[in-house]
């Protein structure tokens, strides 16, 4: 299948994605009041390498916002960002409808260096990820299915 878009079209889509992420970042930064409810209800905080008490929730959330600004985050904020698994119960818990799940996803992308800044947390990359998927496909699908479905 031919799926090569002209370079200009690809660049325009990339620019739209960046613009969306930036607009969301600015919306979150302007609307979050650091009340800490999202941290308090999160079931993953205990897995953080730098765990923080619920009493420090406001500071941890403040640290996440710092990361979103492109600045080095606190160990507690980065520890929380690293263990976010998108449980999503922070979303209804937020009194300002900030969408903390989106806040954490963007913070994760930023902390991983995915949005152009410095890398602040490490991610375990699996170099065989796609090859393993292709290999299992070869074990499970026929040649015809591989040709037409993948």
């Amino acid at each position: 299948m031919t799926d090569k878009l002209p370079g200009a079209a690809r660049a325009a889509i990339g620019a739209r994605l960046k613009a969306f992420e930036q607009a969301e970042t600015e919306r979150i930064l302007s609307s979050c009041t650091r009340c800490g409810k999202c941290f308090e209800v999160c079931p993953m905080t205990g897995y953080s390498k730098a765990p923080a008490a619920a009493a420090a929730a406001r500071d941890v959330v403040g640290g996440v916002l710092t990361v979103l600004r492109g600045v080095q985050g606190s160990p507690e904020a980065l520890g929380w960002i690293a263990v976010c698994c998108r449980s999503g119960i922070c979303v209804p818990a937020c009194p300002e409808k900030v969408d903390p799940q989106m806040m954490m996803r963007l913070a994760r992308m930023t902390a991983l260096g995915g949005r152009g800044g410095a890398k602040q947390i490490a991610m375990r990359e699996d170099p065989d990820f796609f090859d393993r998927v292709r290999a299992f496909a070869k074990l499970q699908l026929s040649d015809e299915e591989l040709k037409h479905w993948t």
Binding site: I13, F136, T150
Partner: protein, 280 residues
């Protein structure tokens, strides 16, 4: 028949039986389902650390869906579905509607019900996560689908695992062990005969429980398919249960397709991996 694109994703390619059963179920519901997936149709969600790459992958995949000229893409994978909603669709010109498979099955439950003719006598604990339900109310809907199967009883309890799918827990030390312990505790407390997953990544993790002799494990599609009389062999589970003996089950001809070295280095360790079974 209504033409749709069935976007099964990447990692479910470990479970050819699930893909084949989904296609049969969709056809029985009068959908002309065109299956696509694998790395060439990646949504890009695995590339959080490189948004340029993630955006490029998403653009390629959306472009391919547009070229197929089918009005609806039905997703199997919750990662693909949510990433499409939250990011891919924000920048790309999507000339199709997105639906999650569970929602499509539920919307067509009146047509599905008469097809579920074979009893599956089983009291099951549904492996539910906290997340993803804002995209599709799977925690509420999958039990309703399962209860349409003669003989299936779904345990109602408060068991909910963090995250949206077990894949997200794999990178967090201790989280999978806790999930396994919570699952076994809930299964024991409820007297369940089996644990049933909604998503493939969870199924992959939970298969280790059956391999350890702890409790039988299925995906909800397995139970729907069984009740419809569809008999696909669950090879991944058989390989997982065989562990070191998986190579014998797979056979030299198929292993040669992926290469002996790669099989032994990258596939066999996954098939031999066993969860830590806690004392309850």
């Amino acid at each position: 028949m209504t033409p749709i694109t069935f976007w099964y994703g990447c990692n479910v390619l470990r479970h050819g039986d699930i893909i084949h059963a989904c296609l049969d179920i969709l056809r029985a519901l009068d959908f002309d389902a065109l299956p696509v997936g694998g790395p060439d149709y990646c949504c890009g969600t695995v590339k959080d650390a490189n948004q340029t790459a993630a955006g490029g992958m998403a653009t390629r995949t959306v472009g391919r869906f547009n070229a197929l000229q089918r009005e609806r893409v039905v997703a199997w994978c919750p990662s693909c579905h949510s990433h499409m909603q939250e990011f891919m669709g924000r920048a790309n010109d999507m000339r199709f509607a997105m639906t999650y498979l569970v929602d499509l099955l539920y919307a067509n439950r009146a047509r599905l019900a008469p097809l579920l003719v074979h009893p599956v006598p089983m009291r099951v604990l549904l492996h539910r996560h906290l997340g993803f339900n804002e995209h599709s109310p799977v925690n509420r809907v999958v039990p309703e689908l399962l209860r349409m199967i003669p003989g299936v009883e779904v345990v109602e309890d408060d068991y909910r695992v963090p995250g949206y799918m077990c894949a997200s827990l794999q990178a967090v030390p201790g989280a999978i062990d806790d999930m396994i312990a919570a699952t076994l505790r809930a299964a024991k407390a409820s007297g369940a005969d089996a644990v049933v997953s909604i998503f493939h990544q969870c199924y992959r993790e939970l298969c280790g429980l059956e391999a350890q002799g702890a409790i039988p494990v299925y995906n909800y599609i397995h139970l729907l398919a069984r009740s419809m009389g569809l008999a696909y062999e669950d090879e991944y589970k058989a390989w997982k249960k065989a562990g070191d003996g998986a190579a014998l089950l797979i056979g030299t001809e198929r292993i040669a397709r992926v290469g002996v070295e790669f099989f032994e280095r990258a596939l066999l360790p996954e098939l031999k991996k066993r969860p830590l079974i806690p004392k309850l």
